[in-house]
């Protein structure tokens, strides 16, 4: 067998890392959107990704819809799930303690996991890549075309979100809620609706992440928890609440994990990501890229 050059290996791991990292970044962004508006960490965030992947499988493989239609329907379906979650579990529990909110979102995540297992069973599912399965060769590394799709779509999501928060009324209103919910209410922003939108938006982003990663890494019912943990790791590393911090940290985490899997041990790659999460929490809870001052000012 031909030996792959070190450069080739490195390129390969880097691309894998950036791809997986993009997904962590999207999960982290989802955490941040909800956290900024409500100060809730939604433990079911990873479940949105799982649902996105599995619903995409349903629309493409079972319903045999064309790809763009399936993609949009998947996002719509999971967005609906996110909105329902907010209406039925978060909204009725006003003034609940942090401990209660944690347990509620965990309960919802178990429920989603259970429903997914009920519907799809325990086996992982795969869908064909969005375009052609022939890999592209860069510096001796074989890059799947789906990788390009993941990077492209992640970039589009980031740009669209930036525009949403900077240019639209709703985006600005959400920023106001993040800054000071009481003041936002005083100037006539319906905080209640903003919380709903934050859950719907997070769910939509999770759905995108699930739909684009399934052709590469498959999807099964119990993937959510680990995705949520790593996404949270990225969110904390980037400074909880910070939008670009989350993206950078997510990709960084993906690369570290991929390098560890490639050069050290693939079994411990998840442990390395989590160890990093613990270290950041212990040493710099304000995040690697933020300072304490900045972490107090919530910004998307």
């Amino acid at each position: 067998m031909e030996r792959i050059s070190l450069i080739g290996q490195l390129t390969q791991y880097l691309f894998t890392g950036i791809t997986v990292g993009s997904i962590y970044a999207l999960v982290a962004v989802g955490f941040n959107i909800i956290y900024n508006v409500t100060e809730i960490i939604n433990f079911a965030q990873g479940e949105f990704v799982m649902l996105g992947g599995l619903i995409m499988v349903f629309f493409t493989a079972v319903a045999k819809l064309p790809l763009p239609v399936a993609f949009i329907l998947t996002i719509a379906a999971v967005t609906g799930v996110g909105a329902l979650m907010e209406r039925f579990t978060i909204n009725p529990l006003k003034n609940a303690t942090v401990l209660t909110m944690i347990i509620v979102t965990i309960a919802v995540s178990i429920l989603f996991k259970g429903i997914a297992m009920f519907v799809w069973g325990k086996d992982p599912y795969i869908i064909p890549p969005f375009s052609g399965s022939e890999p592209i060769f860069i510096l001796g590394a074989a890059i799947q075309t789906q990788t390009i799709w993941v990077l492209l779509i992640t970039a589009v999501v980031v740009v669209l979100l930036t525009l949403f928060f900077k240019k639209t009324r709703y985006g600005k209103a959400m920023l106001a809620c993040a800054d000071d919910p009481e003041a936002a209410r005083l100037v006539g922003i319906r905080v209640n609706i903003m919380v709903l939108i934050s859950f719907a938006l997070s769910a939509a982003i999770g759905a995108v992440a699930g739909a684009i990663i399934t052709p590469i890494s498959l999807m099964e019912y119990d993937r959510g928890a680990l995705l949520a943990l790593k996404g949270f790791g990225a969110a904390v590393m980037g400074g909880l609440g910070s939008f670009y911090g989350a993206v950078v940290a997510g990709i960084f985490l993906g690369i570290i994990e991929s390098l560890c899997a490639g050069f050290v041990s693939s079994g411990y790659k998840d442990a390395v990501a989590l160890l990093l999460l613990l270290l950041v929490l212990y040493i710099r809870p304000s995040g690697l890229f933020g300072n304490v001052e900045a972490s107090k000012i919530k910004e998307f």
């Binding site: 259970g114 943990l229 212990y282």
Partner: protein, 318 residues
Amino acid sequence: MEKSNSKILFALIIFLALFPVVVLNVRAIGHYLDVMIFVGIYSLINLGLSLLMGYAGQISLGHAAFFGLGAYSSGILCTKLSLSPWLAMVAGVCLTALVAYIVGVPSLKLKGHYLAMATLGFGVIVYIFFNEEVALTGGPSGFSDIPGLTIFGLDLNNDLYYYILVWSLVLLTLVFSLNVINSRIGRALRSLHDSEVAANAMGVETSRFKVIIFVLSGAYASIAGSLYTHYVGFLSPSSFDLFLSIKLVMMVVVGGMHNIWGALLGTWLLTFLGNEWLHVFRDFDILVYGAVLLAIVMFLPEGLVGLTPKMRWLWKRS
């Protein structure tokens, strides 16, 4: 001990004494003794978790790891080093308490969601360790032939004897925990549950007490792990996964987080539901668990023990 507590304790002892008598004489439910042993093992963990959550107000989503550390310590020391099971159990407690201390000191400085995620992350790391250290733990397939327990030459490898052993330990731990609650530590804990800032201002060293309770609850879980190992005789990482950590928290919440009796009630109910009465659902127990937990947190935040004052009120009215 408070008067109401000694009454409930007395009732519990009567129930525990009568349980095997009834169960062993009714063929259809003869195996309930086995389920009750598991209830005892999980109760041991949840007594600690209840102290941590209900009294100190700190969440842990990583207690399956402490349970696992105790279980693997016992399993490995007994089979690979042929150590006496009781010594292995003590060694397990020491190791787990040390790990709990090392993890607890930095973790308990974190609050709310951060603490939840940190303990969750810790639990998953330990789970990965059990899976990957094949030479030590046997990896994903685990290892078997772990000897049973004996005491003064008496073989405890019998459901009735094991039931007595496990529940004696639970009762001892329970009495100890009740005393902790009513001690200086307990009062300090309750003060920090209500308002940590106020407690600090009054001169309560909140961080020290939090760590003490965290380590104590880790030690309880470790003993439970050892008891589990010697009862089942077989270990694999899947018994100590993330879902167990969540289930343990669930038992405490369903029974009633702010009440140590609630932890016992929740453990009893959910273990019987999971091991026995929900068998019709087989793999779909996750779905039922999620729904039950959600319903309890949303509609009965006090847990099942929160129902008792209401029932008493209804009783008096009728």
